[in-house]
Amino acid sequence: MIELIDYTIAPERAGKGLRDVDFSLSKGDVCAIRTDSPADAGTLLKALATLIHPERGSYRLEGNLLDFTDYRSLLPIKKRIGYIASDAAMISNRSIRDNLLLMRQYYENSLDVTLDKASEDLCRNFELDHLLDLRPGELTLSALRRAIATRELAKSPTMLFIEYPEDYIGLAHLDYFSKTLEALPLSEMAVAVSSDDKHFLDRFANRQVTLSAGTLKCE
């Protein structure tokens, strides 16, 4: 499904970046990324989410080479990606509810859409239901991250990239998050997770790669 070839990304603020990485992710893969540098794991997930332009190398999705020179060509792909990571954001001048509904409001061309049952369940179980009319800036960091996770899971993504769920979602809600992941059609999805939580990885991952000093080793 996803194929990165000779993918090279310069290091950002921290980490070593990626150097000539070859990586593939097929439908049904839940790939664990183990690393001693969380920043590099973040860079790989960001690269998979097409959020970084590579210095060198190519990104193939379902056999098609992605064109990073025009961001518009990446929009239909980004729409299919669930990205639960520390640099995922919400639009600060909209309420949490509006943020959760934005994609549907846009594509269904109506402001009258309401949260569907799946989103309501996610909000209730993530303890967000009383926070929906607040702006993102009024939420605690952990509540904001749970709201972002809700938005990404409600997208029904075909590719899902998760950065350290034990930190991002928080241990208090990790069990519910795991149950939600289990309920997703994982055999139809390509998933990559960076995590240090052995229990979480044992439960979901069916393959593992190790990222060290910007290079990737498959195990």
Binding site: Y83, A88, M90, I91, S92, L102, M103, Y106
Partner: protein, 258 residues
């Protein structure tokens, strides 16, 4: 000597690159009018209404007193200076052709252009633009188009309000408060004003709308990683908007009246 030449060269290249960026942004924004998918119209309409509200409706409390003060001051001054028979022409020349669009533009720059630059800069730094893209939505369409339509519409509305309040309100204040003879002031205005005056003012308002939106959004969208870069962008956007509006004003005045 080499240092001075190098500095001038870098400044020239930087300025040229910036102007090309603004023109490219303008081109991309114009293209949005030709590519009009059905999806997203409801969301964009909502943002347009919000922008008109923030830029025009909230500014009426400011522009009406300014228009009254300017209108009455000009009427008093020119009624004494040039004699009552030229007053209509003078008011049309000053208020409708020049001051109306310019003062409206300055108010919009002070209130909205800086706000738009700050808002979009924050969106860039806080990765909110990425969040919009991750929803499969083109940020140019979602952020730029409604602000362009909203600000341009707002300038047009504010300019009409400014002209009417400055002329009619200014006249009413002078008539009530002073004994200055103004003759048939409103009749003189009616005779002095031509279709070209109204057309030029509308064109100026539209061009100011484009200039202010494009300049403030170009600064807003420019790549930045740190919050501390945002306060640097605001004064630059403000001064550029003001300068470009003056240039546009002169060009339109020259084209129509000389």
């Amino acid at each position: 000597m080499n240092y001075i030449a190098g500095s001038i060269g870098r400044w020239a290249i930087g300025s040229l690159t910036h102007i090309i960026d603004i023109l490219a942004f303008n081109y991309r924004m114009s293209m949005l009018f030709f590519h009009r998918p059905l999806e997203g119209r409801a969301v964009i309409r909502k943002v347009i209404v919000e922008q008109v509200y923030f830029t025009a409706v909230q500014a009426f409390g400011l522009i009406i007193p300014i228009a009254l003060i300017m209108g009455s001051t000009l009427i008093v001054g020119f009624a004494r200076l040039s004699g009552q028979y030229d007053l209509g022409k003078v008011m049309v020349l000053l208020v409708v052709r020049e001051l109306g669009p310019l003062i409206t533009a300055i108010l919009v720059i002070l209130r909205s252009a800086t706000a738009v630059t700050t808002e979009v800069s924050y969106m860039v730094v806080l990765k909110e633009i990425d969040a919009i893209e991750m929803a499969g939505i083109d940020p140019m369409r979602m952020i730029t188009l409604p602000r362009f339509i909203g600000i341009t519409t707002a300038i047009l509305c504010m300019f009409i309000v400014f002209d009417l309040v400055a002329i009619i309100g200014g006249y009413a204040i002078v008539w009530v408060v002073t004994y200055i003879k103004m003759g048939d002031f409103l009749g003189q205005i009616g005779k002095a004003i031509t279709g070209a005056d109204i057309a030029v003012s509308v064109i100026k308002a539209l061009c100011f709308g484009v200039t202010i939106t494009v300049t403030s959004l170009t600064h807003g969208f420019s790549p930045k990683k740190l919050m501390t870069e945002i306060p640097e962008k605001n004064p630059k956007a403000f001064i550029e908007c003001f300068f470009y509006c003056l240039v546009v004003n002169v060009i339109i005045s020259i084209l129509f009246y000389l």
